[in-house]
Amino acid sequence: MKHSEDDTHNSDDTHSGDSVEAFVPARESDTGTTSTDADDEATVVRSDGGTVDRDSPFETTASVAETRNDRIDRFLEEYIRTPWSILRNDWRALVAFAILGIYFIIGTVGVYLVEPTHPAQGPQLVGAFENWDHPLGTTTNGRDILSMTVHSTPTILIMMASGAAFTVAVGTFFGVVAGYKGGMVDTVLSSITDVFINIPGLPLVIVLATLLEAWINNPVTLGVLLAVAAWAGLARAIRSQVLTIRNESFVEAARAMDMPTRWILIKEILPHLMPYIVVNMVNAARHIIFSAVALYYLGVLPFSDANWGVMLENAYQSGALYRTDALHWLLVPMIAISGIAMGLILLAQSLDRVFNPRIRARHQDIGGDEGLEPDSESETKDMMNV
């Protein structure tokens, strides 16, 4: 009993030893060429194709089976580590995360720290930074501006998130399906898209908001309403991208293998569009905020509580444009809107970098040197200045 157990152990050991011997040299050569350039031994082995101890190249199979851990590792590499290493070196990303993080904290924690304001809470029109009971000053009603700004953040954030999600979901669906399927499906979906592109967005939303007043008083429905005018542009842009992808060899291969259309769309085409979609989602969020605040300012959207747009309108109505003592009332919501927009723009720009294949290759551990193209900056300079 004990003996046999030893036997199996032995055989196991020898077996694993074999396999290690079989693939270790090849692996070393791989890492050798990528990390350090001058490694003579490794290049020698590599020139032999990395299969020096095999008799026939035809018997060679993948030396390592991809385990679950490898897959997780690859996933982490692709979606977490590489983006992180790019973002870490990009000040725009850091600033963007800082700005958006501050807004998020204000919207979640800040709401509990700053108590809601009410009319006649303080004296009328205290200026900003004059009185530490009201750091950002008060309105003509004596309402605290800091508190109003903080308490409108969650609504705006929810509206932004739901609007952006809706825009991207509908836009991607219409764009991908229309671009890939072609024919009748394309005609129908594209016609719908074109009608929505042709209808000017803000007027449509104003008409809908006026007529649906009773139905749209929570931030999620408001976000979706604002997105009604925004998805079509994305759909058209995505469709034109899909038109170039649909004839690529990997898509044709999948089609030749008789994969279901849904599978091709989700597994083959969508991953190639992800960078584009993510960047557009960030831009959509900015547009939603801009139009939401504009509509609040115009007094078109129904509102139950203060928010940046309503503050803007109240300040405007109180003559903040020509009264110096009310100036802070107008500037605070303006800065709040521009600040979050700035965060979103910087995020979009840095994400653009994350998805740029040239920059990606530079930051990726896996993959060979030959994948690296020369730096675009020096190249273009050479070209234009010679």
């Binding site: 499906v185 007529l211 058209r236 303006m334 720009q349 273009t380």
Partner: protein, 331 residues
């Protein structure tokens, strides 16, 4: 040719869809404007039945008629240019709109034109000197500009240049006390009034320049530029024919969307500057719940956008021969 006809049909389809939408919304919404109008005005009349006739005069919709007949009546009236009667402005919607359209077109076309010309030139220069101080400075400037909504810039401009410095009028669209017509003071007065609204749209140039910069940088990395240089083509030819042209093409979709949003943006802008264009009347109508005027303004703005996009689309074929003609296999 076939494609142009299809594109024209598409424009007409959109206009029809919007008119139908306007009808459906005014007629079938819960608490619909027509019923509300009848309920509101009916009791004040000697003969409550007259309320229905008035509804037809104001909104072109007879609430008593069956839906399909009401729809046909409504569409017939619209096609004849009769958009109903405005309750708040006490004039026909058609005459109000006819008066407002040129002003909005004037302001918006200049805003779009200046925004894109400035944006494209800036973006091209930024890409040309990529990585230089000029590029870094102006990328930062464009980023800041893009994160400011145009209405915030409009309010700031109005505050500074109109209320504080008195350089520009605080509202209105034409000088007072000057005889209207083709005389110099009147023309200058119009430009004076339009300057701030047009300049507010300057923020669009920020977004355009960033897009243009990105596109140009991408084009600058292409092989055909290297070939062009090897062929010994002069710099100016390369810059205009190869770089600019190929970098502007992808911005076309952006321009299309910009036209749509800018006409929408005209509403906010005209409201801020009290510039009596289509958008200004639309907001007045929304505030007064003047549905005929609101729907009329919506329809007119849509038609303006459809025509603008149609022109953009048809001229685009001249810039890019690849546009149009889509014969693709369907899966």
């Amino acid at each position: 040719m076939n494609w142009k006809i299809r594109r024209l049909g598409q424009g007409l389809f959109t206009i029809w869809a919007v008119m139908t939408l306007a009808f459906v919304l005014t007629r079938m919404m819960p608490g619909n404007p027509v019923d509300a109008f009848v309920a509101q005005i009916g009791p004040e009349l000697d003969n409550p039945q007259e309320a229905y006739e008035l509804a037809e005069i104001y909104m072109n919709i007879n609430p008593e008629a069956p839906m399909h007949i009401a729809y046909i009546d409504y569409m017939t009236a619209m096609l004849q240019g009769d958009m109903g009667y405005s309750m708040s402005q006490n004039a026909t919607v058609t005459s109000i709109m006819a008066d407002a359209i040129p002003w909005t077109l004037f302001v918006m076309s200049w805003a779009i034109f200046i925004g894109f010309v400035v944006g494209i030139s800036l973006g091209a220069l930024m890409a040309y000197w990529e990585g230089s101080k000029f590029d870094v400075a102006f990328t930062g400037y464009a980023t800041v500009l893009t994160s400011i909504p145009f209405y915030v810039l409009a309010l700031l401009l109005l505050m500074t240049f109109a209320y504080r410095l008195n350089w520009f009028p605080t509202g209105g669209r034409r000088p007072t006390g000057v005889e209207a017509g083709f005389n110099l003071p009147f023309m200058l007065g119009i430009i004076h009034h339009a300057a701030l609204p047009v300049f507010s749209m300057f923020v669009a140039s920020g977004a355009a320049s960033l897009t243009m910069r990105g596109n140009s940088v991408r084009v600058l990395g292409e092989d055909y530029l290297r070939v062009a240089r090897l062929r010994g083509l002069p710099d100016s030819t390369i810059a205009v024919r190869y770089v600019a042209r190929n970098a502007i093409l992808p911005m076309y979709t952006g321009l299309m969307i910009a036209i749509g949003t800018m006409f929408g943006g005209a509403i906010v802008l005209e409201e801020i500057f009290s510039y009596r264009g289509m958008g200004y009347y639309m907001i007045q109508a929304v505030r007064a719940r003047d549905y005929p005027l609101m729907m009329g303004a919506f329809t007119v703005i849509t038609i303006a956008v459809v025509i603008a996009l149609l022109i953009a689309d048809l001229t685009y074929g001249k810039i890019d021969p690849r546009a149009g003609g889509e014969d693709r296999e369907a899966f």
